[in-house]
């Protein structure tokens, strides 16, 4: 098995490289992605190897990056758009929700909107405003879009390739705080399905579900809980829309308890959706209401205090304790 250790940033780079090698119609477009290789260096070296026609340094306008990717899709190209930071996707919001999401339908199936919009999302890097947001539920609410998030280098490598090959538009959320963490990447193995969740750690007492940067935090919480005698089953949702509810329900039917973790505030969020769906599916197995550990309902705070906004190990364990406190 050809397995190698690399960072998530490198895994995305390798995944994009492979997608471009496989299909000459794959293009990359974004701000500063060519010569600079992107502010996170995800596209490092790709313009040198594939040329300026395939790795496009865009003029500075997100609406145009996505809008022209739509036109390129109509012409048969698959464009991977890079949005420099989460907070800068909103100028493209109209193109994404009105056109990217709906053109397959409006053209009665003639147009294929096979394009990927990569967004470095979530906080934890000590950045200034607009560089740490979690916009996934805006997109998850829009029919026509799919939203996924990688939490490990291996998933980054495979999920970006699967997303490029997919015929529906994909919002690809990358947990920027994990870009520089290393992990094993299996370069040949058959990857897990793009829309499947994965049990990252098996446990008995409480099912804890999250995605992106929260996965590692949940695993750390599970380590601590173990010491205190509570066994957490940790699930990486991987696909935020659609959700792999079968995998999640199987776990909740076993544990009877549910905690969801996300950096986005909980109103109308992915976490709320998971709790509602699993309550419906697992009503008779649940021994306590599903709890959400989320960002607060305020604009993302200045980063000196972001660690008290983002779900921490302590806040996850507090929710675990509360769910364990219900008698049934």
């Amino acid at each position: 098995m050809a397995s190698t250790t690399m960072t998530m940033a490198k895994a995305l780079n390798e995944g994009l490289r492979r997608a471009m090698e496989k299909n000459p119609k794959v293009l990359l477009m974004g701000e500063d992605i060519g010569r600079l290789g992107g502010v996170f260096r995800i596209t490092d070296g790709l313009q040198k190897d594939f040329g300026e026609d395939r790795v496009i340094d865009a003029p500075l306008a997100e609406s145009a990056i996505v809008g022209t990717a739509v036109g390129l899709a109509i012409r048969g190209y698959r464009t991977v758009c890079e949005i420099q930071f989460d907070g800068f996707v909103y100028p493209a919001f109209d193109q994404i929700v009105s056109q990217v999401a709906k053109l397959h339908k409006r053209s009665e199936g003639v147009y294929t909107m096979g394009l990927v919009i990569r967004i470095p999302f979530q906080g934890g890097i000590g950045a200034i405003e607009h560089h740490s947001e979690s916009p996934e539920s805006y997109f998850a609410q829009t029919a026509g879009l799919r939203v996924v998030s990688c939490a490990t280098p291996n998933d980054a490598y495979w999920m970006i390739q699967q997303s490029v090959e997919h015929d529906d538009p994909i919002i690809f959320c990358e947990p920027k705080s994990r870009y520089w963490e290393k992990g094993e990447v299996d370069l040949e193995g058959a990857p897990r399905g793009l829309f499947e969740a994965e049990v990252r750690r098996e446990g008995r007492d409480v099912t804890v579900i999250g995605y992106g940067s929260s996965v590692k935090t949940m695993l750390r919480a599970a380590d601590t809980a173990e010491l205190e005698g509570t066994s957490l089953e940790v699930i990486d949702a991987r696909s935020v829309a659609p959700l792999d509810l079968d995998t999640m329900a199987r776990s909740v039917q076993k544990t009877g308890r549910l905690v969801v973790v996300q950096e986005a505030p909980h109103t109308a969020s992915i976490g709320s959706e998971i709790v509602a769906e699993l309550t419906e599916r697992c009503f008779y197995s649940l021994r306590a209401p599903g709890l959400r550990v989320s960002g607060y309902h305020v604009p993302y705070p200045p980063s000196r205090i972001e660690d008290d906004f983002r779900p921490s190990v302590d806040r996850i364990l507090d929710a675990v304790d509360r769910t364990m406190g219900y008698d049934s």
Partner: protein
């Protein structure tokens, strides 16, 4: 520089340039004042870069090379005017009276604002490129409806000039003949992207297509920037409508302290622009024409030095905010989710209590 359209009143060597349309109205003391502003802002900027290197700031966006553009524009404002900056306009903030430590609060990541925008008539920084240009036009429409003789000045970069918001703000300003002046600092780079990717023509030419004047000024010539901006603001105040000013300049430093410009531009280019230093040319004018002596320059340098030391002390004294402050001002009126969050934070022992 061999650019016919470029308004320049002072050559890079500090010699007077006669321009048929613009004439410098400033005397010795005022020019010394502009020089002082530029020296101070450069020194404060360098101090901020070192504070960032020492881990005391999350980020810094240097202004080096653009001092004349910012000070010339900032000093052209009348006290009643209002300005809408992007994120690099430290020089303009200085002219508006914003205390230097307040400019650094955002970069120390202890707030998302930093100063009272009404008090200084200078809005809070805007990071999402181009958003503020529409705010400026809206404010100007308010000025118009109030029948006030005020003008609005808004800042954006060559990169931001490609954003829909900026181009829409041109349409709006023209449509309503709003008393607004658009000040584009073309420092030739938007992170790694050269301005040639944003425009094939001088950015000032864009204004003509929207139906209002566009003027290209040497952004490293503080006298020219001052006169061009002053005239445009005056024109706006008396109903003359919008103007676009393109200040042609250069970003000497990195985009921000997170950036490594050696990856995308050559040193030789930077060196050329260092020879067009905006401070040196005013200094040579002051020496040659006004016989300003060494003591005066030393006094300015000493003042800049002490302001830099004070800035350092002020920044180091900025502690980590109580996390409960994140709930302040999220809404103007009470909100149940905000109350719930505050309560949770206290219960978890993250904060001692309310604010």
């Amino acid at each position: 520089m061999i650019d016919e359209e470029l308004v320049q009143l002072l050559t890079p060597e500090g010699l007077r340039n006669v321009n048929p349309d613009y004439e410098s109205t400033l005397g010795r003391d005022e020019i010394v004042g502009l020089y002082r502003d530029m020296v101070i802002i450069r020194r404060l900027c360098n101090e901020s870069t070192s504070l960032q290197r020492q881990g005391q700031l999350a980020l810094w966006a240097p202004v080096q090379g653009q001092e004349a553009a910012q000070i010339g524009a900032g000093r052209a404002l009348a006290p009643k005017d209002f300005s809408f900056p992007s994120y690099r306009e430290h020089g303009v903030a200085w002219c508006r009276g914003v205390p230097p430590e307040d400019m650094l609060r955002v970069f120390r990541a202890v707030t998302t604002g930093g100063w009272d925008p009404q008090k200084y008539r200078h809005s809070v920084p805007t990071v999402v490129l181009g958003n503020q240009t529409l705010h400026a036009v809206g404010y100007a429409m308010g000025v118009q409806r109030d029948g006030a003789e005020e003008a609005v000045l808004t800042f954006f970069g060559d990169g931001a000039s490609s954003q829909g918001d900026v181009l829409e703000s041109f349409v709006w300003a023209a449509s309503f003949n709003a008393p607004v002046v658009f000040f584009c600092q073309n420092n030739q780079w938007g992170i790694s992207t050269p301005s040639s990717v944003q425009s094939r023509i001088p950015l000032s030419h864009r204004a003509h297509g929207f139906g209002f004047p566009g003027i290209r000024v040497d952004g490293n010539d503080v006298l020219a920037v001052y006169e061009v901006t002053r005239r445009a603001l005056e024109n706006a105040r008396v109903g003359g409508g919008p103007t676009l000013i393109e200040a042609y300049t250069y970003r000497i430093g990195a985009h921000t302290t997170s950036d490594d410009p050696t990856r995308y531009r050559i040193d030789a280019e930077v060196e050329v622009w260092k020879h067009r230093d905006p401070l040196e040319r005013v200094k040579s004018l002051l020496v040659r024409e006004y016989k300003v002596n060494k003591a005066t320059f030393e006094k300015v340098a000493a003042e800049a030095e002490s302001l830099a030391l004070k800035l350092r002390d002020d920044v180091l004294a900025m502690g980590r905010p109580d996390p409960i402050t994140m709930f302040d001002h999220a809404y103007a009126a009470p909100h149940p989710l905000v109350d719930e969050g505050r309560r949770e934070m206290v219960e978890l022992g993250i904060s001692g209590g309310s604010h």
